[in-house]
């Protein structure tokens, strides 16, 4: 499916759906202008309009709360580690060995199997200079890729949409979250956020009055500068079109068997069906919460990692079955790692550098970069120091996978990683 049908859908939808019923007699002239502009923007788009079957897809998965990277990718036979974590280092005994020095948490058997099959790259020691230990600020930094920026910056995906996807429909980006991720915030109106497709329905379009006052749906100007009314009208229009496409796609895509049940698994299941159904979405964002393990983390951390690994295993099996594994990359990141020393409550406080994971078929699998030193003299205020900037990871994904210009999106130039 090319993206053209979605424009057709959009056009016919606006005419027959939103302006349906009592309003059909008067299509406001600016709506025609909007459609005209969408078409023009599409013609001018610098991006090769991808065919639905081969366009690259990027999935961003945030482990929200700050994943304890040190108990995820675990140093083996390391005295500094054992001393810093008298209680929490017990996970070492059962770790799934990758090399003589490094093992994965035993709950990540799913990751281990993807690693063995050559579909998982583990990037150690990823962070950014002057790490911020606030959840919210650090999340903002990862979402905007602007550690120096002021609060409220556009997201890196928002800038990608603006630079590389002009004229693309709103559902080019889909976020399965309660609120839109800052990564999607940008000058353009791209990005649809919903949690549950069953609730994402507009049952009686004919009664809607929104069509009477739909604004310029190409949304010139930044979201925060546009008036709230414009924003509502635009969201209303985008939502109706996307909801329609989503349900059409799901209707023709069968349920996937043998998927585990957890929040993260349900989200990946939905994404797998949308990819299989040919939805034109390029970027998906989802989040798994609960990683802020200040107290008694042994059990809760193990459960989270189990859900994460099992969901990934099922997702990639489905991607393989569909033949889509080669065009999908999935980035797993967290806003920060956790303090090297455990605290007095059998938990860990906010830290800095941590591993990130990139998954997909054809990736250069294995371990990238060393685990940062845990020697107390090498720590930065008790935290591991980073040796790889997260923007190198972003730049590599933009350039190598999305075929986008990384320096336009991120600003500056970054040494690419061999992913």
């Amino acid at each position: 499916m090319s993206t053209e049908p979605s424009f057709m859908t959009r056009r016919s939808f606006i005419r027959t759906g939103i302006i349906g019923g009592a309003l059909a007699t008067t299509i406001p002239s600016f709506l025609d202008q909007t459609l005209f502009r969408l078409d023009a923007a599409e013609r001018d788009s610098p991006l090769q309009r991808g065919h639905g079957r081969d366009a690259p897809i990027l999935i961003l998965l945030q482990l929200a709360g700050g994943n304890d990277g040190l108990n995820t990718v675990i140093p083996l036979e390391n005295d500094h580690y054992r001393r810093a974590r008298p209680r929490l280092s017990s996970v070492e005994a059962t770790a799934l060995r990758l090399t003589d020095d490094i093992g994965l948490h035993e709950s990540l058997s799913g990751f281990k199997s993807l690693y063995d099959d050559g579909n998982l790259a583990i990037l150690n020691g990823v962070g950014y200079p002057n790490p911020n230990r606030s959840h919210f600020r650090s999340t903002e930094i990862w979402h905007t890729a602007q550690p120096q920026g002021r609060n409220g910056e556009d997201g890196w995906m928002g800038r990608y949409f603006d630079n590389q996807c002009k004229g693309m429909p709103a559902e080019t980006g889909i976020s399965l979250t309660a609120t839109p991720p800052q990564a999607f915030q940008g000058p353009g109106p791209v990005g649809i956020t919903f949690q549950n497709p069953n609730q994402f329905r507009f049952d009686d379009n004919a009664e809607s009055m929104a069509g009477a006052s739909i604004g310029d749906s190409t949304g010139r100007g930044r979201r925060q500068e546009a008036s709230p009314l414009h924003f509502l009208e635009r969201t209303d229009l985008d939502a109706r079109v996307s909801s329609d496409l989503l349900h059409q796609t799901l209707k023709k895509t069968p349920q996937i068997q043998n998927f585990p049940r957890s929040g993260i698994a349900n989200d990946l299941n939905l994404i797998a069906r949308l990819i299989g159904g040919g939805m034109s979405t390029r970027i998906y964002y989802l989040s798994q919460g609960g990683y802020d393990t200040h107290a008694n983390q042994m059990y809760s951390h193990a459960r989270l990692l189990q859900e994460l690994g099992d969901a990934q295993l099922a997702f990639w099996a489905e991607m393989n079955r569909q033949g889509n594994a080669g065009r999908v990359r999935l980035l797993v990141f967290s806003e920060f790692g956790r303090r090297v020393n455990e605290n007095g409550s059998s938990g860990t406080d906010h830290g800095a550098a941590a591993p990130v994971f990139v998954l997909g078929e054809g990736i250069r699998a294995g371990l990238h970069g060393d685990l940062p030193s845990l020697d107390p003299k090498d720590l930065d205020r008790g935290d591991m120091a980073h040796h790889t900037d997260f923007r190198q990871v972003y730049a590599s994904l933009l350039q190598q996978h999305l075929k986008a210009n990384a320096s336009t999106v991120l600003g500056g130039s970054w040494n690419l990683l061999k992913l």
């Binding site: 009592a22 919210f136 956020t193 009055m209 009477a212 985008d238 200040h294 107290a295 007095g344 938990g347």
Partner: protein
Amino acid sequence: MARIPTIPRRHWDRQLAAHLAVRAGFGPTPSELDRLEKMTPEQAVDAMLIPPPDPSPNPFPDWFAEPEASNRFPNGLSRREFQAQPPDRKQALRQEFNRHNRKQLEEGRHTWLERMVTTSFPLREKLTLFLHGHFATSAQKVQAAYPMLSQNQLFREKAFGPWIDLLEGVSKDPAMLVYLDNARSSKRSPNENYAREVMELFTLGEGHYSEEDIQSAARSFAGWSIDDSRWTFTVREPWVDHGFKRFMGQSGRFDGRDILDIILKQPQASRFLAERLWSFFGSEIHNESVIRLLDRQLVESGYDLTSTLRVLFLHRDFYAPDIIRGQIKSPVQLTVHLARTLNPAFSDYKLLSQACRQLGQLLFQPPSVKGWDGGASWITASSLALRYQFTDRLLKQKGAVDADQLFPDRSITRIQAREQLFDHFFHHPLREQDQGAFDRMLKALPPPSDWTRNDTVHILSSLTRQPQFQLT
């Protein structure tokens, strides 16, 4: 006190009065609006700010006052006694206890929503809601109803300040002590979670303290904990760190209260609160001159919120055209406003609570310690769909729409009916470019004298699907 550029008396009209009522409360009924419109701006602001003689007709559920309500463990056991139970028994007790607590918590939501809909002193409830988002604490971690409702009562009682009393109350509040882990913080291994958030989110904002300040604050709060068997504050003396601490350029044998006092002496503390108040009651659009006035008023009044909010509600800029109807309704504002303007006697609080849950504002369960982001983040593709679905369900509830009450005089024209409806639910006329479509819809119906209940529900359903209905 600095001169406030107040809203001139001659500008005061029905729309400005409605704006005051929706921001300082949850929205006026037509008779409340008639009353506020006839006052001067000063009288109207005081009518919102000054508690009426009996403002709280509706206390918490009965169980809240009973002694066993504050038990932390089943059957009044202490932590140790509970841990000593055989595993099977422990699990059974815990399950039953959790089920009981979930039920109580939901009752608490209904009572609070009912209070918001029916109170004669809405500003107190609005401030309580503000404080719930500001000092966000989630039952998801606290796992009990009593401390959540007890914290809610703390917000209500101390809503108008002084701020230091509220801060100290929050720092000693059992729900907060559990939520941000201070309950288990000891001299030997201080937990930094509360120490960080009290500065980052509650008082100063990110970037106005150092990592050393966090560590010192954590040491100073160490030992502030809760009782082993009841939801009450207690100081665990062996966990207290009596040593010297350096904090924000001072040093001494500080305890938690000293830390809070030092924080509030920072110019950034009053500035931060002023910004938060303007953003909640006024607008997300920054207004430096209003914020400065609020900041100064906070300092001069010793952080008194009544006089500070009087400055805000009287300020000319609070009534600027881009401020009026420039705020996206929170789920609570949306549901409570609709319940107040429909027939409050028939409000279904279970449905209201369920709607808030689905629309992303489950009371007593904010998504994180930052509270709800608010503003545009309330609106997503699916939350907009859900908002329409919810308003339809509320309108279709038995007794919710009372056509006789909405249209006491049925001999009106369609245009008059349209104007009455918009005054009642929007508190302002329909935009000119939308009138044509709305009038065509009315024209397809019989004249107002023949409207059935279904017709009225149909009209209100269309009206609540106007994107403008999401604004306040």
